[in-house]
Point group: C2
Chain length 268, copies 2
């Protein structure tokens, strides 16, 4: 059995460290993030990503996937820690915590590390504020075979517990880029790539548009939408029917409707 | 100027009543719900729905839409209440509350009150637990010209503040039905209507399916998906491509992808 360290007290430095990872500032300083739950950690393992530290509740149920995970972490030289469920509650901030959590090193998010030719579709979000929307976009990206999600300007943190959870494991399979708008557009135009957004401005029906790979599908901020500058820089502006009273869709929904349409066209 | 009642204390019964509406049990007992923000309340007004009570912060900015709202509520015999921002914070549970909120009577949600021929598309959610997903489905329903959202079995409360907010006003334009699965399927089969769900079971490509109005598009619980019984009862089972590692989409995203596909087919 791999070596395990047992933690009992709430004031243990490891507990404090783990709790601090719920905070964006600390995540950034440490370059680490937290993912909770056996399913998420198994998704990570199957994607070839192991936690640097595996945290397990002492009263957990045995599970073959957990045993596999523990062996893999130990074999990779990771740390394995056990703690009471009460202490784990403090770490996860939930009354009924998942029985297992992991600390991961944050991924490289520079645009220069992204190979745009590796996938036909890329999702792009500008000033997306809701971590749930961000995670949902990662999940959708995984489903449509996108290469990843590029975050423009001041977006929610993709390594927050909420975004990681909403991604349903796609945080481990999708590439993540982070850049300002100026950096992004310079990078995009240095090579081929079609930038597409939903818009009301001289736009074509999203069902009749000529999507081309690599296709970058961009959505904007939840309340403001996309800045004019971003819309105008697009190679293709499309309209999604809005038959009711509202004038926009949820950002993650708009991204998904575009992504599935582009996927259907690009697969033809 | 309409008559306004000013509330100063935190322990005022109206404040307690308003706060209690954040709780499902109290909403159910009172048959009322809370909607916050000038935009949401204006959406309601434009949809012909006025709050029974309009609550405004004393330090609010003047706004022509707020003046119109206040006049309309007063003309309809509604109550108008002013309170300090600090007191309003207690009501809304937010540090920076919207300057205005309204108390609405909950809508009729029996299936017998729904006219299925009034729209080509209806969304159906079974055991949907997340109020944000529920609100997002209402918002999508508005956009695709759906008639409403039918909630099967134990779903999140459509009148919760979170669901109302995520609906972006669609709570006031979409019909809401609530029923058990047995009640729903009996009601559905008593007249025409095609029941459709995403499924892996003997399913056809969702891009090649023969959607027929009135088309009921059903999604399942966030973690469990649809029970076998519900899938088997469908007239049409469709598959949405899942090219990545994950085996499902976010429930609200799946509903939206289906709804936009059905819309495109039904409009042809």
């Amino acid at each position: 059995m791999p070596e395990r360290r047992t933690i009992t007290g709430f004031s243990n430095p490891t507990v404090k460290f783990l709790r601090s990872l719920r905070d964006k500032k600390h995540r950034k300083r440490e370059g680490k993030f937290l993912a909770e739950g056996l399913r998420l950690l198994t998704d990570a393992r199957l994607a070839g990503v192991l936690p640097e530290m595996l945290v397990m509740a002492t009263g957990r149920d045995d599970h073959p996937l957990l045993a596999e995970l523990e062996s893999a972490v130990a074999a990779a030289g990771g740390e394995i820690v056990e703690m009471d469920e009460a202490v784990l509650s403090k770490v996860t901030g939930k009354d009924n915590p998942q029985a297992v959590a992991g600390v991961f090193a944050e991924f490289e998010t520079s645009l220069s590390s992204i190979d745009r030719t590796s996938a036909p579709i890329w999702l792009v979000a500008q000033a997306l504020r809701d971590p749930g929307n961000l995670g949902t976009m990662l999940r959708t990206g995984d489903a449509v075979g996108a290469g990843g999600l590029i975050l423009i300007d001041d977006c929610a943190d993709p390594f927050s517990v909420e975004a990681v959870r909403a991604s349903m494991g796609a945080i481990f399979t999708q590439r993540i880029g982070r850049a300002t708008w100026a950096e992004f557009i310079e990078w995009l135009r240095a090579d081929e790539g079609q930038l597409v957004a939903a818009s009301l401005r001289e736009a074509v029906d999203y069902r009749k548009a000529a999507y081309r790979a690599p296709c970058f599908l961009m959505v904007g901020n939840e309340s403001q939408g996309l800045p004019e500058e971003c819309e105008l820089a697009c190679d293709l502006r499309v309209t999604i029917p809005m038959l009711g009273r509202a004038d926009s869709l949820n950002a993650a929904v708009a991204g998904a409707v575009l992504a599935y349409e582009a996927l259907a066209v690009l697969r033809q």
